[in-house]
């Protein structure tokens, strides 16, 4: 296991006392806490290097441009992209998905073309496609879940065919923790010559993701779910795929030559970065990647596996607790409910123990409909969580059951 006490020293927020208790943060799937290395990288940039990028020939502008482009290189290496030209900085994974849905979809989809998604997508990988389907006349198809909350592999074979024009799916479900066999699905999509995008928001922070090994055409993730600041995300696209897409937004930064009635655009990736970008965000993301690399993805994965296994074992022991999603081979999060107690009430009581935990639909309302529950409680783990945190969680759940004893 990782040396959690030592790691926590890097995270100023763990000095906070919540309701008289030490903070136990179990909502990293929503957003992670930030180490001082990230916070300082951002504040140092503003203190010493701040200037707009890609313009001006003065020292500060050269520095900020170099830092911004270096962050792009670091992000590329992090997912083993062959070139930083494949890395487009966006606001978050949601914006990256919208970029592809619009730039690719509006250019290439025709009426009755099929866009293949899954039943477990986050709203961010569903709504953009609903909007594009409405605009282009394309149809949405879904790979459904089996009873364990895994993708029904037989259903994939039925749904992918010559009408399929795009596939987009999540690598690790943020509600169920399911790890999807994306490599297999990418291969399958390519046998039909269909472009495929992977939502790696819940996988990139926790496990090794290698875009060349996966051979996906697009991949997206958010900085704030991996120790970085909010407002910075990454779209990876194979260079020839990015080249084939028209710009998504227009403005400064993305042009070479501008006349009143026409303009010539810059090459990728800048073609997709209209306006002054989130420079400090990219620099903060680069610092986050360095921090994650210093701990090592293998160690992170091992640590989280131990936490998740322990959480599931302990939750299973409590009468009336129902766990959702596959019990083995899952991402570092556990969604559950306590019989006859609404998740919101669980969350309020756990807050009294200093435990920050998510209650809600996790932006996956179709999964809630599939589970036939209005919402769930979700504990999600990262490098600063320990087995002790889970002990407190379990104590809080037992207390919740006590308070609600008259109801069950």
């Amino acid at each position: 296991m990782l040396d959690v006490a030592k790691i926590k020293e890097d995270f100023p927020i763990f000095q906070r006392i919540i309701k008289g208790k030490n903070l136990i943060y179990l909502d990293s799937a929503a957003t992670t806490q930030k180490p001082k290395q990230v916070i300082e990288a951002i504040s140092n940039y503003y203190k010493y290097n701040n200037a707009n990028v890609h313009r001006g020939a003065y020292t500060l502008s050269e520095e900020s441009t170099a830092m911004y482009e270096n962050a792009r290189q670091i992000a590329a290496e992090f997912i083993n992209a062959s070139s930083s030209r494949s890395i487009v900085f966006t606001r978050n994974a949601t914006e990256a998905i919208n970029l592809v849905a619009n730039a690719w979809g509006l250019e290439y989809f025709k009426p009755n073309d099929e866009i293949l998604l899954t039943q477990m997508e986050h709203h961010s990988n569903l709504i953009p496609w609903q909007l594009i389907a409405k605009k282009t006349g394309a149809k949405l198809k879904f790979i459904y879940l089996d009873q364990n909350g895994k993708l029904d592999l037989r259903d994939i074979n039925d749904k992918i065919n010559k009408n399929t024009k795009f596939v987009s799916l999540v690598q690790i479900s943020n509600s169920l923790g399911t790890i999807n066999p994306v490599k297999y699905i990418i291969k399958l999509a390519h046998t039909y010559n269909v472009p495929i995008m992977i939502d790696a928001t819940q996988s990139v922070p926790h496990t090794n993701v290698d875009v060349q090994e996966l051979d996906c055409d697009f991949l997206v993730f958010s900085g704030h779910k991996m120790l970085g600041p909010t407002g910075i995300g990454v779209l990876y696209g194979k260079e020839d795929f990015l080249d084939k897409m028209p710009p998504y937004m227009g403005g400064g930064e993305m042009i070479n030559e501008v006349h009143l009635d026409w303009a010539d655009y810059r090459s990728i990736p800048w073609k997709f970065e209209a306006g002054t970008p989130n420079i400090s965000g990219a620099i903060g993301l680069a610092a986050a990647i360095k921090y994650i690399n210093s701990i090592g993805k293998k160690n992170i994965e091992q640590h989280e596996k131990t936490l998740t296994k322990f959480a599931i074992e302990e939750l299973t022991k409590i009468d009336g607790v129902e766990i959702y999603g596959p019990l083995d081979d899952r991402g570092p999060l556990v969604a559950f409910n306590i019989k006859n107690v609404h998740p919101h009430d669980v969350s309020t009581i756990l807050d009294e123990f200093g435990v920050a935990i998510r209650a809600g639909h996790h932006c996956t309302q179709p999964i809630m409909q599939w589970l036939n529950v209005p919402a769930t409680v979700r504990a999600s783990f990262y490098i600063y969580n320990s087995l002790d945190d889970i002990d407190v969680l379990i104590r809080g759940i037992k207390k919740t059951k006590e308070i609600f004893a008259s109801v069950s």
Partner: protein, 148 residues
């Protein structure tokens, strides 16, 4: 104020067996409410005759706070005129947000004051007021239709 006070016996009783649950056919007032942050929803149906709420029912999914609040609200407004109900909603909102104290020694407010623990949990005020906001919207829609 501890978390146990938030979940008082009265709140838990109403949560366990909420009053006035169901639908009303051809209601004069109908409104749907939704709490995006937790996914709770509620539908309110009411019969209005001579400006008086003769009957009211609700269907909802949600937490102990939102469900008990809806149960108590529907108990209390039956038989009131629309103007009285509007005034009552206004008063409830002032109390649940901590702007005014819950009245003591008032029969009408006795059960509702079990919700006063919510004031200390600002994020839960939305839960407690979901039914009230929804009814308020329903009355507005009803009155707008009457005007036409």
């Amino acid at each position: 104020m501890s978390v146990e006070d938030l979940y008082s016996e009265i709140v838990l009783e109403h949560y366990k067996e909420p009053h006035n649950v169901g639908e009303i056919e051809y209601p004069e007032i109908f409104a749907k409410g939704f709490n995006e942050s937790c996914g709770d929803d509620i539908k309110i149906f009411a019969k209005v005759k001579n400006n008086i709420i003769e009957d009211i029912k609700f269907l909802g999914k949600g937490c102990a706070i939102s469900q008990s609040s809806a149960s108590m609200m529907t108990d209390l407004i039956k038989g009131k005129t629309l103007d009285e109900v509007k005034e009552f909603i206004k008063n409830f909102n002032k109390k649940i947000t901590g702007e005014e104290e819950f009245p003591e020694n008032s029969e009408e407010w006795f059960e509702l004051s079990a919700l006063k623990g919510v004031i200390k949990f600002p994020i839960r005020v939305k839960c407690a007021s979901l039914a009230w906001h929804t009814l308020s919207q329903g009355i507005k829609d009803f009155e707008n239709k009457q005007k036409k």
